[in-house]
Symmetry: C2
Subunit: 116 residues, 2 copies
Amino acid sequence: MSNNSAFANLPAPPYYVVVFTSQRTSGENGYDTTADRMVELAQSQPGFLGIESARSEGGFGITTSYWTNESSIRAWKQQAEHRIAQEKGKERWYEHFEIRIAKVERAYGQQQQGNP
Amino acid sequence: MSNNSAFANLPAPPYYVVVFTSQRTSGENGYDTTADRMVELAQSQPGFLGIESARSEGGFGITTSYWTNESSIRAWKQQAEHRIAQEKGKERWYEHFEIRIAKVERAYGQQQQGNP
């Protein structure tokens, strides 16, 4: 089963990545709606390049969002609706999270042939 | 439920991250044993700082490994047993993967209080 839409389609480096690793609390508590909305909102921000996300059964997840430069990351962090979501995240949704901002210097990949 | 062992315990930046995003093929095909072995082996490599990993039900996953510098990342890529695993990954385990090597410049996080 192919799932290529899960991959961000990115330009050649350099660009930036925000690595967001998190442990969810138990219970949904309105998380899914806000998470979907934040992806939608991020996509409309200047400098947004793409996003990838995975969460294991136990609630540990990694989301990587990609941006043209640091200033677009800072602007996204300050975006009003996003700030409200961040507060809810701290209070309700995440037991623990870590954020690392990094400059992508090299990138490569491979896709098996013969897949649709 | 706390799952803090899923988080890498990292020093202050700068350091490097390898972001490995992948779509698994269907079927186990010996993947789990090798994946566990590669984590064990990576931990014994010079420059290794930590690793975090999440995979969603559909088989899309993100693994972030953290390293002191680029040369330790290059050395790990060339490590003999790891090279064999990389070949199997391309042939059997991953329908599609992308690797981004990035320099972490800033990092912050938060853990809820009152958790064990």
